[in-house]
Every structure is written in C-alpha cells, then in structure tokens.
C-alpha cells in the first residue's frame, strides 16, 4: 500500500508511546543506574563504572548459565519446529475435526505458566505421577529432583508439551493459505509427497515459520516460571537458565549491581538477535 506522508500521525501513536515508554524506559534506566553503582545499604550509592560488567563477563557462573540457556533453546527449536510442522501437515484440511483439533491443541497455550510447572511436577513425581511412575515401572530409574539428566528431560518435554502447539497453529495457518489449484497441478505432474512438501508447502510456510522460530527463540530464551516451579533450577544448578540465575542474583542474594549488569547484557543479546530476525523478515516481505 502506498502511504501518505503525514507527521500528524504521531498524535495517533502518542498514547501507545507514552504507555510503553513509561513501562520500558523508566525501569530500564533504573537497571542501568544500578549496573554502574555500588551500595552498602542505607541508600548510599557510589559510582563504580564498568566493574560489575567485567565481573559478570568473567564469572564462570554466568558462562555456565549462558551455556545451559543456549543448549536449552537449541534443543527446543530442534524438536518443536519439525514436530509442529509434521503435526500441521497431518491435520485434516476441512471438516468438523478441524475445530476439535484446534481447540484441544491450543489448550496448553492458555494455562498460566506456573500452573504448567505445577502440573508437570505432579505428572512427573516418581511415586505418584503418571510419567515418573511409568518410567520407573518400565525399569528406567527416574527422579527429576535428584538426577540432572532426568531434570533436563522433564524440562524439555514440558516445553515441547507447552509450546509445540504454537508452531502447529502457525504452520497450519500457512498451509491453509495454499490454493487448491497448486495441489491439483502437483497431482497432474504426479509429484511425490516429498516434492509437494519441498516445492509447494515449505516455501509457502516460510514466512510463518520465520515467525515461529523467532517467537520460540525469544520465549525460550527468557523462560523462567515453568522450569522454576518444576525444578527450582536444580538439582544443584543443572537447570538454572539465564532468567532464573538473574532472579536468584537480584532477589535471592540482593547483588543489585551484578544482577543489573547481567540484565543489561542479557537484554542487549536479545535485542541483537531480535534485530537480525526483524531485518531478515522485512527483507523477505519486500521481495
């Protein structure tokens, strides 16, 4: 659409700008403020420059949390994206079952995040949970509060349970936008199921899949509530991801400077990835 140049449009954007700025800029400046100061209580602050940043960037604890975060995000993307696409491809294209599928699949998306954690806690308990009891009965020793591997397995499975539906819904919407004529043409050419997928369905899903990857990357990168309720970051530090580590530093140990410097580094990383994706996405749109 060709848009007219009109600077008075700023007036229409103003309420949004004020509300979001109030919520985004004031807290961000507070964090920046803490990140360059030292305090000994009694509201006495001293300027410290980049000390906290150096400390965070050199701390093995931050490196470990960052490593776990990337491992978690990579696993999530590698499982959820292909699984979501596979389910979307196998879903009926029309008929009464579509609504049933959509409603049931969207259900996990609407459960408050700490209820998801609590639900999986109950589900995975080794003595009375279906998953825990089942695995132990099958001869696999499983206890997510003691074994780091079991904790990881449970956290990843929970995230797959929670968020794959988002990928399914997005991919399904992308598939529905393909006109029937494309499939008829493919049938006339007697194309194999694989080439229909590779040359018709995948290119048509490219845009929604970019959004799915972007959203899953961002949300898994800031995951906090579900793993915190399920494992509390344990056993030990095995499932302490960036957000959990951050809240531990800020509210648990009250290391305001460290926590603030971590926040800023964390935020800048998210921003960088966000910018890369945004540029890629808008480029795709212009073509």
């Amino acid at each position: 659409m060709n848009k007219t140049w009109n600077n008075r449009a700023w007036l229409m954007v103003l309420p949004v700008l004020l509300l979001v700025a109030f919520n985004a800029i004031i807290p961000l400046m507070t964090v920046v403020n803490y990140s360059v100061q030292e305090t000994f209580g009694n509201n006495l602050f001293f300027f410290e420059g980049v000390k906290w940043y150096q400390e965070v960037l050199n701390s093995p604890r931050f490196h470990a949390a960052l490593g776990r975060q990337f491992a978690f995000t990579a696993m999530i993307l590698l499982i959820e994206i292909p699984l979501g696409v596979a389910v979307a491809l196998a879903m009926p294209r029309s008929g009464p079952w579509v609504s049933v599928c959509l409603v049931l699949m969207a259900l996990p998306l609407l459960i408050p995040w700490n209820v998801v954690g609590a639900m999986w806690n109950i589900f995975a308990l080794p003595d009375i949970g279906l998953l825990g009891y089942g695995l132990n009965a099958a001869g696999i020793e499983y206890n997510f509060t003691r074994q780091p591997a079991a904790a990881w397995f449970t956290v990843v499975l929970m995230d797959v349970w929670h968020w794959t539906s988002l990928v399914v819904l997005l991919a399904y919407a992308g598939l529905r936008s393909i006109p029937d004529a494309y499939y008829q043409a493919a049938r006339i050419d007697s194309a194999s199921a694989w080439s229909v997928f590779r040359f018709i369905q995948l290119p048509k899903m490219r845009r929604v899949l970019t959004i799915a990857v972007l959203l899953r990357f961002m949300d898994s990168f800031m995951v906090y509530t579900e793993p915190f309720v399920l494992t509390g970051g344990g056993p030990g530090n095995a499932t302490t991801f960036l957000s959990i580590d951050l809240v531990k530093a800020a509210l648990g140990e009250f290391n305001l400077g460290i926590a603030a410097a971590m926040s800023i580094i964390y935020f800048l990383m998210t921003l960088l990835v966000c910018w890369v994706f945004y540029t890629l996405m808008t480029k795709g749109e212009e073509q």
């Binding site: 961000l28 196998a90 639900m119």
Partner: protein, 265 residues
Amino acid sequence: MRARWLVPTLYIIFLMLPIYWLLNMSFKTTNEILGGFSFYPHRFTTTSYVEILTNPVWYNGYISSISYVIINTVISVAVALPAAYAFSRYRFLGDKHLFFWLLTNRMAPPAVFALPFYQLYSAIGLFDTPWAVALAHCLFNIPLAVWILEGFMSGVPKEIDETAYIDGYSWPRFFVKIFMPLIASGIGVTAFFCFMFSWVEMLLAKSLTAVAAKPIAAVMTRTASTSGYELGLLAAAGVLTIVPGALVIYFVRNYIAKGFALGRV
C-alpha cells in the same frame, strides 16, 4: 497416507495426559493421593473444589486475576487501535524505528524488569492493585496488539477511507462507524491474544502484588509451599485456571486460524 490421522491423534493424547493427571488428582482425597499410584480416583470427592469456591483467599485470587486481565485487554486494544491505523496508513518521521522499538518490548525478558517494576509501582502507589499488573502487562501486550491490528488494517483498501472523507465524515466518526466494524474480527483476535498473554504471565503479576491483588496462580504456589502436601487442592485450583482459557478459546476458535494466517502473532 491412510494413517494420517494417527499423528494429530497421538499428539493430542500426549497433550491431554498431564491435564488428565491433574483432573485425576483434583478428585482424590489427600489420603488417597499419598496412599499410592492409581489411574483414577477410587474414592471420588469434590471437597477440594468446594474449599476453593467457598474460601475467600482462593476465590479472590480468581477475581483479581480476571480483573487485571480485563483492564489490560481494554487498555491495550483501545490505545493500539489509532496507533495501528497510523502505522498502516501513514508514513511519518521515525515510523520504522518506532515500530521496531515497540517490538523489542515484546521481546524484553520480564526477569530484567521485575525489580524496577516493583520499585516504580510502589513509588506511584499502585503496588498490590490490579491496575499495577494491568499497566505492567501493557509492556508486551500493546506492541503485540499494534502488530496484529496493523496486519488486519492493511488488508482494508485505502479507497474506503478516502470515500468516507469525501462524504464528509470526520476521522473519529469514520473510524468508529465504518472502519472498526470492517476489522471487527481483527479486534476480536487481538483481544484474545491480549487476554491470553496477560492471563498466563506470572513473574510480573507476582512481583507487583502482595496480598490484596494476588493472582490465583500465585495463591496456588504459596498455598502449596506453606500448607505442606495439599496436592488435591493444588490440582483443583490448577484445573480451575484452565477453565477460563478453554472457554475463551472455544468462542474464538474460528478466528484463531484467521489471525494466525496473517502471520502476525
């Protein structure tokens, strides 16, 4: 290809298992839960539900959750409407930068903001009210609402606006009388997503409330940690938090695919 239905069926069974387990636990007595593993409640009881629906500590949690979610949805949609119109119809100084800046807020980790939010809302005296949570959730819901609405509005041809102006409509009258009915389904989808993200977010909702406005899911975690092993109550409260979401999703099921089809969410 005959067994195509198998994949979604297995996937849905996988989704339903933990929910079934929660339901199962919610109808058991504490003794039965601690007594050992069983696939269904042998002594079916609804005491947990009765306790939640009659104890004010519990049901006030629901009331405060629902009130901040509704306030947030109304504010987000109301301010996002004109802004999305501006983004979809006009070019103005810094528009692209502004749009990107809005989106970055959708992606800011709430953990970064929890502590400063607590201080900010305490300072302006809104701490522990539904308003604090509703306003804080605007941080990610307004950008989302602008993003979705802009997609819907760009689908309406510009000639409609121009014809209305020629017919002598002022902008506000045109917007309310002609334009909003045209994108009604878009407004519905937007409201749904605002409702959803405000309903499920807990980190900010928890740090901005103490007693009076505590959201239900936070009441749940606290009860679980203070009163020991009340798994039945915990499970029943969990089941009841699924209900509003399920109702909303049932009503908007036909619009969701449409909203997603625009690739905006």
